[in-house]
Amino acid sequence: MSDKDDTETPVLTETVPDGNCEPAKNSECVDQNAKPGSKSEPVGSTRKRPEAKPSSDLETSKVLPVQETTSKDVPQTGWGYWGSWGKSLLSSASATVATVGQGISTVIEKAETSLGIPSPSEISTEKYAPGETNAKENENSSPVAGPFGVFSTISTAVQSTGKSVISGGLDALEFIGKKTMDVIAEGDPGFKRTKGLMNRNSTLSQVLREAKEKEAVRTASEVTMETDKKTHYGLLFDEFQGLSHLEALEMLSRESEIKVKSVLNSLSGEELETLKLELQQLKETFSLAEFCDEEEEEKKGDEDFTKEITELFSQLHVSSKPEKLAKARNTAHEWIRKSLTKPLAEKGEEKQSEAENNERVNENSVEDIHAFAIRSLAELTACSIELFHKTAALLLHGRKQEVMAIERSQTLSQMTVMLCKELSFLSKEFTTCLTTAGVKEKADILNPLITAVFLEASNSASYIQDAFQLLLPVLQISLIENKMESSRHEQQSQRPLSE
């Protein structure tokens, strides 16, 4: 054992100074829109969807409609994923339009004014052909309006205004995504410092931790209300150990990245070119993670999600199971289902039985729903990141690989899409709960809650996508090690032949 230590330690000590990878990160983080967690190389550029290529690649026909709307935002934002995320939120927005009428426009207006983005109509005239918007709106709002027969008339009434609102809302929500960091630290006097941090050299989890710490301080000193803590996404996310797992995953990712670089440096000629090509192929599977499917009817039961995620996980051939995640997800869905099926009058007692999920429940149901929504989103996200971290640890533990790295990355990419869709779906469900429970509430009470749910859902999706990107170096080094392993085997088996 001590022999092994001797050979391995030098590799690790190299990593301690950490100086060589910092400058690259710095330059990348100068743009505040750049994701703080994105790795300088080789992941950095993969954030954008592969617009130039897809026509030659798989599944392009499905991708195209999405790109039409999102590609325009990419240069502006640099956050390729937001486009499609925004799209999936679109249907949530229209669901809200269908149910509360003017609600969503107020939400968006509020969001816009507070975020300083252009007005919906401006955006819609600039960016969308009216026909396109119309089609989307109808497609998305009608199935949702169905169950709420009462509101369907309202739905038609707001259709005309809804059009510009929704298309504007799409942009607004994308913008909200970009501004997520701002909002995390909203009301945070030390926020500039946080941003300064982000621009310097910190990793994503550091920045998040920082923002969270600041917020925790504020929460502790200024706002003592129990509800505030209960609905603070960052605090909850940390409580579910999401930050810790993200930090650990970052550490594994960083080390892997350094190892990959040193392997590449040690190779030359044809060998190097072959490996580079293979790594490139791997990298491409990481840029395909997007919501490429047209918004399908998402009426999956609990079993389906559990089955699907378990299935995907088994394809990874790592000895970890997504039980915790599935459980968290199913709890959320069960809660929503109950909350929607019970008439309003019964809500109070109904939730008492759910007390274990929601701590001490107070009487105000809209706030309850909001608190539970935020909590669920934080928990699901933390579980997802934990899964990615465990996957990374298992990929790196050096057992013989049964599955090709590229297959794994495809599976992980599918998983990322699935998780983000699930979050989007959940947020929709939660806002439906909110609008149903809050029919009597004033807009200025209800709307911020709805906005918050959407915000944190997009927040969640971005954490998950970041965590996914962190897996690339891990898969790369696993590919390299697997290659070395098999070439060693080949050499061993060839030797007797040649003799």
Partner: protein, 215 residues
């Protein structure tokens, strides 16, 4: 857990290291949940636990990284040492092999953390006195020979667990007070939250990173 107070002034990062099956996860569980866990599953990579403790009137949040002990995870767990303020090095007093491997764990702990990291040696399962395989004296000698770390060799479940975590925290806090641990250093393993209510004594917060665009 949602009612846990958030008003702590420091965060210390701990790692727990040692051979497989010495009871690292149990120690953590014992410390964070105050319950004995008879059957821990093997840890994959690392698991986490947190608890807020108080040292000299300061609330400190311990963020504990419970690493996997299996040899096959060794390369992975080495990645997690960085930035630990405290390292709990655990062996099982009923299994000599776990004691024999200590020097290798110590090497890792020394190489992969910073010089100020407080290392505590924990001889676990002292309740199984009848099966004792490693004497207190030899462990003490090991600690002395290798110098510079603290010894806590008589851990019985529920008894001295608390002590081990607290003593490490006291030592770290002491290092902060006497200035030997630089909070501004990148990997001190300590985060300070100066504006926390009780931490009012320090107002000059460490703000190394103020430049950068303030937009």
């Amino acid at each position: 857990m949602a009612t846990a107070p958030y008003n702590y002034s420091y965060i210390f990062k701990y790692i727990i290291i040692g051979d497989m099956g010495v009871g690292k996860s149990c120690l953590l569980h014992q410390f964070t949940e105050k319950k004995f866990m008879a059957d821990c599953p093997h840890t994959i990579g690392v698991e986490f636990g947190t608890r807020i403790i108080e040292v000299s009137g300061q609330k400190i949040k311990l963020q504990i990284w419970d690493t996997a002990g299996q040899e096959r995870f060794r390369a992975v767990t080495r990645s997690y040492y960085r930035g630990a303020a405290g390292a709990l090095m655990v062996y099982d007093i009923t299994r000599r092999s776990t004691y024999n491997h200590l020097s290798s764990w110590l090497t890792d702990a020394r190489n992969l953390t910073n010089p100020n990291t407080v290392i505590i040696l924990i001889g676990n399962k002292a309740d199984l006195e009848a099966q004792r395989d490693v004497t207190y004296e030899e462990a003490k000698q090991f600690a002395e020979e290798n110098g510079g770390f603290m010894l806590k060799v008589n851990i019985k479940m529920g008894e001295n667990v608390e002590d081990a975590f607290l003593e490490a925290a006291k030592k770290i806090y002491q290092n902060i007070q006497d200035g030997s641990l630089d909070l501004n250093a990148a990997e001190s393993g300590v985060q300070h939250k100066p504006s926390a209510p009780q931490g009012g004594r320090l107002t000059s917060e460490p703000q190394p990173q103020r430049e950068g665009c303030g937009c």
